[in-house]
């Protein structure tokens, strides 16, 4: 899905900001969606636990708040990734309010090879993988802040495809989609919003697969870690 953007004045201002946060020292051709991925000397993953502070997010089963779920899941996934030798940057480590621009700024400063925005919802089934709805675009020296992700959409789609295949290989239902989500459109890295929903329809199967089921959370986290490890391997190949 494509979008038309906002005011020209704001874009002009944020173009400068995006240029500051954009990865420096890389050849523009190397960032082109059609170019092969560069071999990474360092492999950084950004975990963005959505919501926080006054922004509670969705109310989940049992009255749990989405902001608490995403923070706990981020900590769990960070441990798994660190154990696999990956460098992890998180946008928040506590119940604090972090706005969308600040999250994108943290991700862009990290110069990450993969960025996951973690969400949770009581609607739907399984794991929902969403990438930006921006149309793919070539890399510009000065990218508009609001649409900086456009140059990375193709890589984001590839990352979502890998996450999809790994999750399905682990018998987790997956829905792929594109959306306009504040924050991810400004990230200059392959970015996927991961929304975790109950594995089974609520009330139909009480044996497991609910959001508060630790086994289900561990299962999803292990699958995501495995996918990010594979992404690292793929990215290293010339």
């Amino acid at each position: 899905m494509r979008w038309t953007s906002g005011s020209g004045g704001a874009i002009a201002f944020f173009s400068v900001v995006a240029a500051v946060f954009a990865p420096a020292g890389r050849d523009a051709a190397a960032q082109s969606p059609s170019a092969p991925p560069p071999p990474y000397s360092r492999y950084v993953v950004v975990l963005d636990a959505a919501h926080g502070g006054e922004d509670t997010g969705a109310r989940l089963e049992g009255g749990r708040l989405e902001k608490s779920f995403t923070l706990a899941f981020s900590v769990r996934l960070r441990s798994l990734l660190a154990a696999r030798g990956m460098q992890v940057t998180t946008t928040r480590e506590q119940d604090a309010s972090v706005d969308a621009d600040r999250r994108a700024a943290i991700a862009n400063h990290a110069r990450a090879q993969a960025c996951l925005s973690l969400h949770a919802s009581q609607s739907g089934l399984g794991v929902h993988l969403y990438i930006s709805s921006l149309a793919p675009a070539s890399t510009l020296r000065f990218a508009p802040w609001k649409t900086a992700q456009a140059a990375w959409v193709t890589r984001s789609l590839a990352l979502a495809g890998l996450l999809n295949s790994t999750l399905q290989h682990n018998n987790v239902p997956v829905i792929l989609g594109r959306t306009a989500l504040p924050g991810i459109d400004s990230m200059t890295c392959p970015t996927v919003a991961v929304e975790i929903a109950p594995e089974n329809a609520t009330g139909k199967d009480a044996s497991g697969g609910k959001l508060d089921d630790p086994d289900y959370q561990a299962h999803v986290a292990e699958a995501l870690a495995a996918a990010l490890l594979e992404w690292r391997t793929e990215a290293r190949q010339p």
Binding site: S5, Y130, I175, G177
Partner: protein, 225 residues
């Protein structure tokens, strides 16, 4: 001893009082009859404002993230704005019904208004003062068949009661865009307001500050990359 003239005066006054009472009673009865007659002439059935027509609704399904086209028969006004509101009202009624594949509270009353405006077009810098222009005012330059921008104004109760989540919010917006496109092909872009104001998100996730393109919400395309 009462004088004779006083007796005659008493009888005359008594007769006048009785006559006036009779007249008043008659007038009261006549007013009551007139009131009843007026009530009888009031319509007892709502007039049929529009004939029933077939409308295509793109109904969301949370289980698989899809949009499925569904044909419904409902009265559709001739005015495009009212027609858009009627179609979207029916869509939200389906979502509010029990057993919905995309449960969202509120129903048809969640759509406060739908405005149709001429879609902004690429213009020389000198004429870019207004982002959108009313249809009637822009027909001379863009033609009567130019693309339209639909502005959908939700009530705040709808946003407050909408389930929070990327998938559910995205599907709501895409199904509205797809439904507008299916029934009003000239609608190319959609913007969303809540109580007449721009809001950052619908229920914490889907961005409402952007303009959505209806072409991207066609069945089989929109929800899945």
């Amino acid at each position: 001893m009462i004088p004779r003239y006083q007796k005659i005066l008493f009888v005359i006054l008594l007769a006048a009082s009785l006559a006036m009472g009779g007249v008043l009673w008659y007038l009261l009865d006549r007013a009551h009859q007139r009131l009843l007659t007026g009530q009888d002439s009031a319509p007892t059935r709502a007039p049929q404002v529009a004939p029933a027509e077939q409308a295509t609704l793109l109904v969301a399904n949370d289980a698989d993230g899809s949009l499925v086209a569904q044909v419904q028969s409902l009265p559709l006004p001739a005015d495009p704005g009212a027609r858009a509101r009627a179609v979207l009202g029916k869509l939200l009624d389906l979502y509010a019904a029990e057993g919905s594949t995309h449960p969202v509270q509120g129903g048809a009353v969640s759509i406060a208004q739908v405005f149709l405006l001429a879609a902004p077009e690429s213009k020389p810098a000198a004429s870019q003062g207004a982002q959108v222009r009313p249809v009637a005012a822009s027909r001379a330059s863009s033609g009567a068949n130019g693309p339209l921008l639909a502005v959908v104004n939700f009530t705040s109760n709808f946003a407050a009661g909408h389930p929070s989540g990327i998938e559910t919010e995205t599907l709501t917006l895409l199904s509205i865009c797809g439904t507008l496109r299916a029934n009003l092909p000239r609608v190319a872009e959609v913007r969303f307001l809540i109580d007449g104001q721009q809001h950052p998100t619908l229920a914490g996730h889907a961005d409402l500050t952007r303009t959505y393109l209806t072409a991207e919400a066609a069945p089989g395309e929109g929800a899945k990359p």
